[in-house]
Amino acid sequence: MNRKKKTVAMLLAGGQGSRLGVLTAKKAKPAVTYGGKYRIIDFPLSNCAHSGIDTVGVLTQYRPLELNTYIGTGAPWDLDTLTGGAYILPPFSRTGDAGEWYTGTANAIYQNIGFVEQFDPDDVIVLSGDHIYKMNYKWLLDAHKEKDADATIAVIPVSMEEATRFGIMNTDDDLRITEFEEKPEHPKNNLASMGVYAFKWSTLRKYLVADADDPASSNDFGKNIIPAMLANGEKLYAYEFGGYWKDVGTIESLWDANMELLTPDPPFNLYDDPWRIFSRNPNSPPHYVAGGAVVRNAIVCEGCSIYGTVENSILSESVVIEKGAVVKNSIIMSGTKILAGSQITMSIIDEEAVVGKNCVIGAPHDNDAEVKQIAVIGREIHIPPGGRVAAGEEVRS
């Protein structure tokens, strides 16, 4: 059967996201909630759907259960086409060996060369399940083809100070990459890699195989594959992306990215229809705001019941805010209940948690503090009535 596809997407979704602490204790980072109803992985998956890429391999490793259930056949992103689909690709064993974990991002693709070859693609795009952005991968692929590149790396301009935290591409005037520096102390350029790559499959395949044979390699795209390609003089180009792109890898950045949505003119607009972000929709009735409730400057999903006060906050699906409870500057994830009289400030509360009556969780931001002190309560945790959780504290059990 001819299953040829011009482009196959490989989505790296195996990362733990350890800097998200208790939020990723039981699930992988791509399954973390953002903007009330979305999960981070909804963004690359929706981007694929809108960019006309219907064959997506999702590479999972760390705590994949929730992610696997969430992705299913890919139908919510319209990926369950006749010849395409969303394919969950966990590590597996082969004849004569016991199999092994994915040792790095490049190794994850290497172990799935067989999957990619089924589709005999011209190009493969490698995506990360860690970022919030809307991007038409077709434009990246057009640039890639136009320059007949071996690899095209999507980059985004960052400030020179921030550049020290990213993988930076040094390019010539034609955007051809001359050098790649991972987290440079003294950056020469401000074009940061977004973790979005287009590769000519024939070239990538060669490098993946060579990389797998090198016992010294850490099997990583940024550390090994890209430098090796550059060293051999392959044609690598940067593609400059002008839109919003955010790595929500830390508690603070996740909180910031959510709060940005509440600003009057948010830098990232979820409300533009043509590039709608798809997600798995729960079966909940509309949300209810009771008499006496206050809901201001907030994002609220279906199934919620609000009897108290919600300000500058984001509520995921089926959250209950009881009477007299006050939620400010916080993110409350799905199914969580905040019982009567509790005060929630500068907090992130994960799914299915219960905050008992008259608790005080978090504290207002102290302007003198250098970093934001965000209280975090893990999934399914019950805070007993009258409980206290200090600013910046993390409740794991």
Partner: protein, 375 residues
């Protein structure tokens, strides 16, 4: 279910009292409760009762119904065996495809009925909103040795009825048997309202439909049921939970307003029996800092800047600054500009309300702005 059944939903009831709301849609396609269509309730009831083969009978204006149902996937009815079947008007030698009653509609759907593999049929309509698992009714049907079981609810006898609403009242003896039947009485002593939902063995239904049709009886209650009250053992099964009836603009308004009551939402949306509907991937609703919302049901995709009180707001509605919406129902994709005031108003889909306009109705006569209207 304790016996295998297939489901049939008669979604082509003519309800002229719903006026402009049903000008361009079937009653079953009426939006209700902030994100649902009336048909979602009977359809979810079927699915929650493990009925996996459902035929939906449509007649006029079935476009919006088809659009909503699609392949039936949202109800898990897009299946390789059985699933959802949309039975569009089918002209026979004897009729042109516009049904003179449910009996004629069933006769036109005979191919589907004959082909169904299940022994029983649960036949219902799309004008009532309730949440019920049909298991118990089936058990009652079997145990009472009924030929046909009718679902009913109790209301206070002597209630003044809307004479044009096609009310069917049942006389039920102490054993539970239906012994009499009134259609559209102006004043009645009977307190059992038929919910026009039936369980019957498939072969009996086929016989009854053919028999009634040959006698020129096209209506189900006043024809088929009434003439068989003596011959058959027709039993009544009471539904004690909430029922919302779509009969007129006023009752459409009332039912939507009842969704604002916590006890009614609890009855309609128990966690064990979800109501499924086609979802639209709308963004969550955004409340701006000037928003003031009280006692209201709000779907996804809205942007609220003004005051909303005691209202049901469907998805993708924009309420402008200083707008005041009171005791109103706002259907999807509607924009209410700054400073507009709505009081007891039903805005159909895609309506635009200009800045500072003012519309006032009352509970018996809510103002209705038709689909796509501009005020």
């Amino acid at each position: 279910m304790i016996r295998e059944a297939f489901g049939m939903i008669y979604a082509s009831e003519e309800m002229t009292n719903l006026r402009e709301l049903v000008d361009s849609r079937a009653v079953g396609a009426l939006p209700v409760g902030g994100k649902y269509r009336v048909l979602d309730f009977p359809l979810s009831n079927m699915v929650n009762s493990d009925i996996r083969n459902v035929g939906v009978i449509t007649s006029r204006n079935y476009n919006s119904l088809m659009d909503h149902l699609g392949s039936g996937k949202a109800w898990d009815l897009s299946r390789k065996s059985d699933g959802l079947f949309i039975l569009t008007p089918f002209s026979l030698r004897e009729n042109p495809g516009i049904y003179r009653g449910k009996v004629e509609a069933l006769r036109s759907s005979m191919d589907y009925i004959r082909r169904a593999k299940q022994e029983y049929v649960v036949l219902t309509g799309a004008t009532f909103v309730y949440n019920l698992n049909f298991d118990e009714m089936m058990r009652y049907h079997i145990e009472s040795g009924a030929d046909l079981t009718v679902l009913y609810r109790h209301t206070t006898p002597g209630t003044q009825l809307d004479s044009r609403a096609h009310e069917v009242l049942l006389d039920i003896d102490p054993s539970g048997r239906v012994t009499g039947l009134e259609v559209n009485p102006v004043l009645t002593s009977l307190g059992a309202h038929s919910l026009k939902t039936y369980i019957v063995r498939k072969d009996i239904l086929i016989y009854l439909v053919d028999d009634s049709y040959s006698k020129g009886e096209y209506k189900f209650s006043e024809g088929l049921l009434r003439s068989n009250l003596d011959r058959l053992r027709i039993m009544g099964f009471e539904h004690t939970g909430y029922v919302g009836a779509m009969r007129s603009v006023a009752s459409y308004y009332k039912v939507n307003m009842e969704f604002l009551r916590e006890d009614i939402r609890a009855a309609l949306f128990p966690a064990s029996h979800p109501i499924y509907t086609k979802t639209q991937d709308s963004v969550p609703t955004k409340y701006i800092s000037t928003a003031d919302t009280q006692s209201s049901l709000i779907a996804n995709g809205c942007v609220l800047e003004g005051r909303v009180e005691n209202s049901v707001i469907f998805r993708n509605v924009h309420v402008g600054k200083d707008a005041v919406i009171k005791d109103s129902i706002v259907l999807p994709n509607t924009v209410i500009a700054e400073g507009a005031e709505l009081d007891h108003v039903i805005l159909d889909k895609n309506v635009r309300v200009r800045a500072r306009s003012r519309l006032v109705g009352n509970a018996d006569f809510p103002v209705v702005i038709r689909k796509g209207g501009m005020v």
